[in-house]
Every structure is written in C-alpha cells, then in structure tokens.
C-alpha cells in the first residue's frame, strides 16, 4: 500500500521530468536553426551548385551548357590532376610530420606557469596575427635571390633561388606553412596540457617517474583527443591551402607547387573552365570528408568515454 502510494507521485514526477527534457530538446532544436540556415545557404547550396556545374561547360561569362560526363573524363585523364593530388598529399603528410612534434613540444613548454614561458609564448604566437597574404609577400621579399635578406646581410649561402627551383620551392612552401600554423596548434596543445589534472603528475612523482616518463605516460596519452583535433585541422586544412601558395609561387615554378585547391582556382578563374574546376572541387570535398571521418574514427568508438577514470 505504502509502496503503491509512493510510486504514483514518483511516476508523475518522472513524466513531468521527461516532459521537461522534451521541451528543452525542442528549444535546443530551434536554437540550431540559424546555424542550419547559414550551413544551408553557404555550404549545402553551393555544394549542390558545384556538383551540377561539374556536368556543364561554362566559361564563367556566357551561357551554361550541358556537358554530360565530359568534364569528369577529361579531368580524370589529365596528368595535371594526379600531379596536383600527389603534391597535395605530400604537403599534407610532410606538414603533419613537421608541425605536430614542434607544436606539441611548444604547447607543453608554454603550458608551464613560469613568467619567461608566458613571455616567449607571446612571441611564438605572433605569426597567428598575420594574414597569409602578408606572410607570403614578406617571405617572398626576404628570399629574393637578388635583393633579399641574403644579399642585405652578405650571406651568400642563403642566396639560393628558393622559389625558382622546383624542389626548393616545395620545401619552402612547407616551411612557410609550418611557420604560420605551428603557433595555432601550439595554442591548442597548450590548452590541452593545462586541462590535465595536477594530481596525475603528483602521483607519478611519488612513484618515481621522471619528466620524460611523465611526458610519455601521462601528457601524451592525456592529449589523445587534442592530437586528433589538431591533426584533423592540419590534414583537412592542408587541402585548402591556397592564399599562401598563390601569392608565394602561383603554383610554379612549372607545376611544382600547384596543389589541388590552386589547380581548381587556376582552371576556373584563369582558364575560364568552370566545369573542370567544379570537378576538382567535388574531388576536394570527397577527400576532405573521407579524411575527416577517418580521423574521427581514430578516436575510437568510446569517444564520449572519460580519460580520467578513477579520478
């Protein structure tokens, strides 16, 4: 009897509660509307537009005509596409290999609370404030083989034709990208390191683990999701590197830095071939989606799971 009495109000309470969460969920649903609206207008509609354009021939000015699969066949048969694809992946992989260790270590370093570290961090983050175009113009001027820094300082070994020799130009592009983006990833890692509870390190210290052991057994595993986030941004971001390379080399010398995004732009807006350019845009979207999904999977199914069990 007493049981029956007590369950009744509890049941109504539960109904009330579920009603409330449902209402809250409904409220949340329409809070996403502005974002959805912008996603639709600026992402979905252009995406569909590009997909449609990839089956047409259009010079960007005149009438749009149907082209069937012509653009797809011509682009897929073009060695230029595979050159651009290869370069894109090369820059992506090398950039990741260069940037990840540097920004991880810098992130750990700047996460410390010492004053001098904070002062150095400000210097490290400076490139974040500069636009890609400005960075590219500055490096171009500094590296000019005849009027650049090397001539100014009288350092002949620096006076290489940095942007004029295909291999050097590619290496230089990777270097400048790293120079610009390492600060950003350092910031992400700095935040990640600061989230790690002090008690973990204290416990490790009691167990007699040194700094290096602490780094490999606490810091690195705790940064798992930070590494995945930073890598996703690096990998997907490197698909869209454009402004920096466009200003620095314009894709040259020859085609040695003509990555996919640049290839798309040059085909579309220089050569007036909007159809083939749209094909490349679609390819870019597909590669980006696949890579992003793959990296999310790396995080494991228990992505929601805690890394701090037992604390």
């Amino acid at each position: 009897m007493s049981n029956a009495v007590s369950t009744a109000p509890r049941a109504t309470a539960r109904i009330k509660e579920s009603k409330q969460t449902e209402q809250r969920k409904a409220a949340l649903a329409w809070l996403t509307l502005p974002a959805l609206f912008f996603f639709l207008v600026f992402a979905v509609i252009p995406l569909v537009g590009v997909l449609i354009l990839s089956f047409t021939s259009w010079d960007g000015i005149g009438a749009i005509g149907a082209a069937g699969m012509d653009n797809w066949f011509s682009v897929l048969a073009d060695p230029g596409l595979y050159n651009a694809l290869g370069l894109t992946f090369l820059i992506m992989i090398v950039s990741w290999l260069v940037q990840t260790p540097i920004s991880l270590l810098l992130g750990v370093f700047t996460a410390g609370s010492q004053r001098y570290r904070a002062a150095l961090a400000v210097l490290y983050f400076l490139p974040l404030l500069l636009s890609s175009a400005a960075v590219a113009i500055a490096f171009k001027a500094l590296l000019d083989p005849n009027f650049g820094l090397a001539t100014g300082l009288g350092l002949p070994f620096l006076a290489q034709d940095w942007l004029g020799v295909p291999q050097l130009a590619l290496g230089l592009v990777i270097f400048v990208i790293a120079w610009q983006f390492v600060p950003f990833h350092t910031l992400i890692y700095q935040g990640g390191v600061r989230q790690i509870p002090k008690s973990l390190y204290e416990a490790a210290q009691i167990d007699g683990a040194g700094t290096i052991k602490q780094f490999f057994h606490i810091t690195l595993p705790q940064l798992k999701y930070t590494i995945i986030t930073s890598s996703t941004l690096m990998v997907v971001g490197s698909l869209t590197y454009f402004d920096l390379i466009f200003v620095l080399t314009g894709g040259g010398p020859g085609n040695s830095t003509r990555i996919l995004a640049l290839d798309m732009y040059l085909r579309g807006f220089r050569a007036n071939l909007m159809g083939p350019a749209s094909v490349i845009a679609v390819i870019l979207v597909v590669i980006g989606l696949v890579l992003a999904l793959f990296l999310q999977r790396l995080g494991g199914k228990d992505k929601q799971g805690s890394q701090l069990e037992g604390l």
Partner: protein
C-alpha cells in the same frame, strides 16, 4: 501536440531570421563598385600604378567638373588581380559600366556572351573620334567585323632595353643577330653580370621572348595560323626551333639567377637592369616610364639603351616587325542602364585622350595612339625613345598583339603554363608544341 508546436516555432524563428540573413548576403553583393553609379553617371575600373593612375584620375576629375550629370566614378585594381576580378564580375552581372581590357581573345569572350556593347554604329556617327586614333589600334577591338571597344592610352611594343654603361665597360655593341646574343651572354657572364633580366614568375614576361623569336624565325604567318585555329598550327617547325633557341639561352645562363621567382608586378626585373646587375632586358615599352621614375637618374642620364629585337639567321620574319600591345581598350557593359551608357559614351568622346592626357602620356615616355603627334614627340625630352616606338607602331609590316591577350583565356592560360615549363626545361620544345597543339580551337 508537441511536434506541430515546435515546427511552428521554428518556422516563426526562420521567418524572423530570414530578412537579416538575406540582408547580410545581399549587402555583400551590392557593396561592390559595380553598382556605385546609381545617381546617373558611370562606373569604371582601371589599373592602379603610376604614372597612369594619376593621369586617369586627373582626366576623370576634369571631365566630372565639366559634366556634373555624367560623373564617372573610378576604382583602381592591381593588374594581375584585375584580370581575374573583371571576369568574375562580368559573369555575375556586377560589371562596372566601363570595362577596361586588352581587346583580342578576352574581348571576344565578352562579345560572344553579349556582355559588351557593339560600338560600330556609334563610331560611324562620330567619324572624328574614329579618325583620331591609329587605324591599327582598332584591330584588337574588332570581333567579327564589329567594333566592341574604344582604343585608348598608348601603343606598347616590346623593346630590347640595355644598360649602356655595362656595354661600354665590356666594349661591346647591342646585339643584331641571335649569334650576337649568345656571344654577349658569354661576355657578360665572364664579367659577373647577368646577361638578361627577366621576371619569369609572371610568365607573360617569358612569353615576350617566344613572340619575337617565332616572328623572326617563321614570320608572322605562323602565329596567324595558330590564332585562326588551323589544324596542327603549333606543330610548325618554327615553333620547335623557337623552343630550342629559348632552352639554348637558358642553358647558357642567359637569364639572371632566380628569374623564375621574380614577378613583373614588383618591378624587380627593371631594378636589376638599372642597378647594373643585368645588362639587358626584353620588356614592354611602358617600363621606360617606370624606370625613369624609379631608377634615380638612370634614364635621365642617358644610360638606358634600346634596340629592336635581333634577327635569326635563315629566319623569315622582317626585322622591323613588332609585338606588344597595340593599345588599351575600354568597352561598355551591355548590362548598364541607358543613362549609364550615355554617360560612358560622353566620357569616351570628351574625357579620354584629351590634350592634357596626351601630354601626360608623352611626358611619361609613352606614345599615345592618336594621329598628328609628331611635333609633340619631337619636342619631348624623351624624343629618341618616343620616335623609336612611334616608328615601330607606324611602320612595322606586322605588329602582333601579345599572345596571351589575342588567344582565348583558356588557350592563354595553357600557353603561359607551358612557357613556364619550357623555360624550366621540364618539357622539351617538341612537348611544348604538342601540348599547345591540343589547345587549338579551345
């Protein structure tokens, strides 16, 4: 019960938000200079950079103060950026009333898409205006027998410039033949001076070499066939020989170290010539004016030499033939309102190439494309150069328009890309010809 409520709310939210979003997106669309001519008058886009920007601004100011109902509003853009911007703007129906350009293949694209006004009958009604210009300047403005643009500005042939001081020091004469060029390359390299300056990253700068070489080797007919899209026109042996000569010159270190990372927009190529780091430079005649301005007193002290492009043994081309830009061009957007079109035409008639503007061009070392300026040229302090250019414009048996402007934008981009690779020696002259042959008719 709940479901419809949510969707009604979301609908209301959407309805409330839509106007803001639309306002935000359309604001981006209309803030461009293309739509700035609402109060009568016409809008115009023009290239930034001196001395032309000041000359144009003065001409517009003068016109505007005399014609308050037809005011021209002008916006300036950098050369290479403008070329892309204007195409995009025209495609999006956001073009300014007055479209600046280079005639030829680009203008043809606009004309065939009915984006620019046919000015043929207007020129017939204004014979004085038509007769004011060099007849040859109408060539690149004429598509299928109709005139789509007003020629203006000045004629700009490509000229072989050289540093007289360095030539004196080496005790040599400017080259007259291709053999002379190759021996001068050796002389200057031994002296530790680069033989030729070149802004290779801009690519159209390298193209000027091919334009002259092909003319001297095969005559103007070879490119004419290419321009007309005749089958296998690029496979002409003269094209292969041109490519071979270019790579010979590159292999002999004919061009300054690092030429493929130098851009023309930075004017570093000109600085190399006037600072004595390079002995010669093949470039447009407009660089005379900019070197006069930037090169301290290099031009004023008579240290800048100029010569026609050398001949090639066994070649068919007349050594008097020229290449370059016969003029600059201005078209009227067919999407503009009638009022805007009228203002633009008035500006074409009364505002451009007035006496003041003609004098300004001559003072900056250029030859405006108007008849009867011989006296003015002869009294100018730059008369030697001006007469040299004038003579080429007036007497050249063939004056070939720059290839990247004459060809369609699609073929031009492929051309520039292949020229870049030819200069890098990453393709052979044979491959160059084959690659280009694939673009015929595109």
């Amino acid at each position: 019960m709940k479901q419809p409520q949510t969707s009604r709310r979301s609908f209301l939210a959407l309805a409330a938000l839509t106007p803001f979003a639309v306002a935000a997106t359309t604001a981006c669309g209309t803030s461009g200079p293309g739509a700035s001519s609402a109060n009568g008058g016409a809008s115009m886009w023009y290239l930034s950079g001196e001395p032309n920007q000041t000359t144009m601004q003065k001409a517009v100011d003068t016109f505007n103060s005399a014609n308050s109902a037809d005011k021209i509003s002008v916006t300036y853009f950098q050369n290479d950026a403008y070329k892309t911007k204007i195409k995009t703007a025209i495609g999006a129906n956001q073009a300014p009333t007055i479209i600046y350009g280079w005639g030829g293949g680009g203008l043809k694209t606009y004309a065939e898409a009915n984006q620019v006004e046919d000015l043929t009958s207007w020129f017939e009604q204004n014979p004085d205006l038509k007769n004011k210009f060099f007849p040859a300047s109408f060539g690149a403005a004429t598509i299928n027998g109709k005139i789509y643009a007003l020629p203006n500005q000045y004629v700009a042939p490509i000229v072989l410039f050289y540093n007289k001081e360095l030539f004196q020091k080496a005790g040599v004469q400017p080259p007259k033949t291709w053999e002379d060029i190759m021996s001068l390359v050796k002389t200057f390299n031994d002296m530790g001076v680069a033989p030729f300056s070149l802004g290779g990253q801009s690519r159209w700068t390298s193209m000027m070499w091919l334009e002259y070489l092909l003319d001297r080797i095969g005559g103007p007919e070879v490119f004419k066939a290419i321009f007309e899209g005749k089958p296998n026109a690029w496979m002409d042996p003269a094209v292969i020989e041109t490519g071979t000569k270019i790579q010979e010159l590159v292999s002999a270190d004919g061009f300054i170290k690092g030429f493929s990372s130098i851009t023309a927009d930075s004017q570093a190529d000109q600085a190399l010539l006037f600072s004595g780091k390079a002995a010669m430079m093949l470039h447009g005649s407009w660089t005379y004016g900019s070197m006069k301005k930037a090169g301290q007193n290099f031009v004023q002290d008579g240290k800048l030499g100029f010569a026609p492009f050398p001949t090639v043994a066994g070649g068919k081309g007349d050594p008097k033939n020229g290449v370059g830009n016969p003029a600059a061009y201005m078209s009227i957007s067919s999407k503009a309102s009638d009022k805007e079109k009228e203002s633009a035409k008035k500006f074409f008639k009364d505002g451009i190439l007035t006496e003041t503007v003609i004098d300004a061009y001559i003072n900056s070392g250029s030859v405006p494309i108007v008849n009867g300026i011989e006296d003015k040229l002869n009294t100018s302090e730059d008369k030697a150069f001006l007469n040299f250019v004038y003579d080429m414009a007036k007497n050249a048996p063939s004056f070939q328009q720059s290839w990247d402007q004459a060809l369609s934008p699609t073929a031009a981009e492929a051309l520039l890309n292949n020229i870049d690779q030819l200069f890098l020696k990453s393709i052979t002259p044979q491959q160059f010809a084959e690659n280009m042959n694939g673009t015929l008719g595109k």
